[in-house]
């Protein structure tokens, strides 16, 4: 009996120790779930609430994945929201142009606009990659600059107005539900997360960007094509943002240069909370996914309390971010001491 107990404890300890960040997030997730179970069981634990939550997070979840990749290389991508809006604006314009005279959208319309959107995201990402890798501009400055550029192009394309009155077909497919149950946005997110997870854990590309993030100089001297790797990474981030933008276009059935301006900070919060080291070289996709879930549940949960005004949200998220980074410092120290 006693031995059995001991081994369970050791197993739990082992599990916690092996991936501190993910374990901690699982604990936070449980804390949020239990709090909601006590306080708002009927409202929170309803099918429609979970369906709403999993349809809400893909737009910023996809952008977080992009930032995660860049952060693993030791960089950052602050242009994600700019790319997303630029993509949703251009795809919106393409959709409107494809509408036939009788107001219906041809069958290939959705596909064409999505592919164009993804290509635009790819180009934007490659531009970021070239700025960072070829011209050695610090990623923060390079992507902040390109964010302004993408924002500017978006404003010019729309003249500052919203692109609206899009054909409903697009919105009803992308913001729809597969078999009436699974939100399509979630499927897009899961596919992209799956691809990135595969790239990071099963391909040499993944191993190399971790090496690159751990020590840029060492990676260079050991013959890695750092320029190519960085451009690929930022391009991938651009594709993630593009998908985020396509999801936004469907969710709001309109596009505007300044939608989702608060997502940049929120995505950084998610990535750091998920245990990705801002200095590069460390981070797992599972951590980021759990961190997305925790924040989404906190955010939707808070909306269920009439008495907690949403201006506490910034305060709570700021605290969560600082606590996460402080805890990361302690766990790093423990690793070093061991």
């Amino acid at each position: 009996m006693n031995e059995n107990k001991m081994s369970i404890r050791r197993k739990l300890n082992d599990f916690y120790g092996r991936d501190v960040y993910t374990s901690r997030l699982i604990i936070m997730l449980l804390v949020v779930l239990i709090s909601m179970l006590i306080l708002k069981p009927a409202k929170f634990f309803s099918f429609i609430n979970f369906q709403t939550m999993v349809a809400q997070f893909p737009e910023f979840g996809l952008m977080s994945l992009g930032i995660m990749l860049c952060m693993i290389t030791g960089g950052i991508d602050l242009s994600v929201v700019g790319v997303a809006n630029l993509v949703s604006i251009s795809s919106g314009i393409i959709l409107k142009a494809l509408v036939a005279a009788d107001g219906s959208l041809p069958w290939y319309g959705i596909l064409v606009s999505m592919i164009c959107g993804i290509v635009i995201g790819l180009v934007a990402g490659v531009l970021n990659g070239i700025l960072v890798a070829k011209f050695s501009i610090p990623p923060i400055l390079a992507t902040l600059g390109s964010y302004e550029l993408f924002l500017g192009i978006g404003i010019i394309l729309t003249k500052g107005k919203a692109i609206s009155k899009l054909p409903m077909e697009y919105s009803s497919v992308i913001a729809g539900k597969l078999f009436g149950i699974i939100p399509v946005q979630l499927i897009i997110f899961v596919i992209m997360a799956g691809i990135i997870s595969f790239l990071l854990s099963r391909t040499t590309y993944g191993t190399r960007i971790y090496m690159l993030g751990t020590n840029m100089k060492a990676a260079e001297f050991s013959g890695l094509d750092t320029t190519g790797l960085l451009i690929k990474t930022y391009a991938l981030s651009g594709i993630c943002s593009a998908l985020g933008g396509l999801v936004m276009l469907a969710n709001y059935n309109s596009a505007r240069a300044d939608y989702g301006a608060v997502y940049t900070l929120q995505c950084i919060l998610i990535v750091v909370l998920g245990g990705v080291n801002p200095n590069g070289g460390k981070g797992r996709i599972s951590g980021v996914v759990f961190s997305i879930l925790v924040l989404q549940m906190l955010s939707s949960g808070l909306n269920m309390f009439p008495q907690i005004s949403n201006f506490y949200k910034s305060l709570i998220w700021g605290c969560v971010l600082l606590i996460a980074m402080t805890l990361n410092y302690f766990s790093e120290n423990r690793n070093r001491n061991n």
Binding site: N13, V31, K165, S171, Q307, F330
Partner: protein, 347 residues
């Protein structure tokens, strides 16, 4: 050991969360408890403003709270933390998931809310809007007044200050904001009819203040430097005229350049008393909030909504449908504030 410390941290954090949340729930019970006589006390009606911190919507919340105390209905205000169309849509999505009975919304960007409001209506939720005359997916939209008439009213105020002559331009929160643009259009139409000596600045006939006092101030400074002949700026959002006034003051143009528009009394007492701005116009957001809820209650009760509707709220006692619309209802809720009466409003 380290693990325990970390666990302690997380437990402490969660306790704070639980405590805050508990405090909140108790308060609701105190407010709604004891009034079991109303048959519909279980109705949950939520007002969703553009954001939670803007003084305009803080004032709206006072009205919402008053309504709750007067009727005992479970009504409350829940807005996004920042003026952002995506955040607002998410608040509404969460409310749909929470199965509230009615949503009263002041949209940031009407087109962005259409899909989510459609979802709400499909779920059987009553949707009432304010300042969103272009919305398709709502049961009714309440406007404090006829937008063109209010725009003309602002223009009268501006023209009076400008002496009925000179170059002017218009400022709106966002060029996508339906009401702001209708006021501006109404103002321009009224000017063309009544003040032939005034002229609209054709290079930039409509600028955006992004519902932000600092942006309004910057835009006004840019405009006044770029166009030295500019004599008046017609503001619409509650941030426009005060921001423009700051620019007028700073550039030493008091008495040469004028502005008029919407503004809150308490925030503008100083500029009104010092004469930088002669008069501001507004309607009371608290009453607008109450009117939205009162209309939602009527719709929930299944009452017939027709011309001449009386919501029992000042300025909303004789609502009329806007011409050619069976959704947009207009009241007579405007007021003027100037140096004399600015202190008498209490907000």
């Amino acid at each position: 050991m380290k693990m325990k410390r970390i666990l302690a941290f997380i437990l402490a954090l969660s306790m704070v969360f639980v405590l805050v949340a508990c405090g909140g729930t108790k308060e609701t019970k105190d407010n709604t408890g004891g009034k079991t006589d109303t048959k519909n006390k279980d109705w949950e009606i939520v007002v969703v403003p553009k954001d939670a911190t803007n003084p305009w919507f803080v004032r709206m919340e006072t009205g919402v709270k008053e309504y709750r105390e007067e009727t005992g209905l479970n009504v409350y205000q829940k807005g996004p933390s920042e003026t952002d169309a995506t955040m607002q849509a998410q608040v509404i999505q969460d409310l749909i998931a929470a199965k509230v009975d009615a949503i009263c919304v002041v949209p940031v960007d009407p087109p962005a809310l259409e899909p989510v409001l459609k979802e709400a209506m499909d779920a059987g939720i009553v949707v009432i809007a304010h300042e969103g005359a272009s919305l398709q997916n709502c049961h009714y939209d309440i406007e404090a007044f006829n937008n063109e008439q209010y725009g003309a009213f602002i223009m009268d105020n501006l023209a009076e200050a400008m002496g009925g002559e000179g170059l002017y331009t218009t400022m709106v929160g966002h060029v996508t904001n339906a009401s702001h643009n209708e006021w501006a259009d109404g103002g321009i139409a009224h000017q063309k009819e009544k003040y032939p000596n005034m002229k609209l600045l054709e290079e930039e006939p409509r600028v955006e203040s992004e519902d932000n006092g600092d942006v309004a101030y910057q835009r006004a400074k840019e405009l006044l430097k770029k166009y030295p002949d500019l004599k008046g700026i017609m503001g619409t959002s509650s941030f426009d005229a005060p921001g423009v006034a700051r620019a007028i003051q700073e550039l030493g143009l008091v008495g040469k350049v004028f502005t008029a528009g919407t503004g809150m009394p308490s925030a503008n007492a100083e500029i009104l008393k010092s004469g930088v701005v002669k008069s501001l116009t507004l309607w009371d957001p608290a009453l607008a909030g109450k009117a939205m809820i009162a209309l939602a209650v009527k719709v929930l009760n299944g009452e017939k909504i027709e011309n001449g509707l009386d919501l029992g709220i000042e300025g909303y006692q004789n609502l009329k449908f806007k011409e050619g619309s069976d959704k947009v209802l207009e009241g007579q809720g405007w007021i003027v504030i100037n140096a004399e009466n600015v202190d008498s409003f209490g907000f």
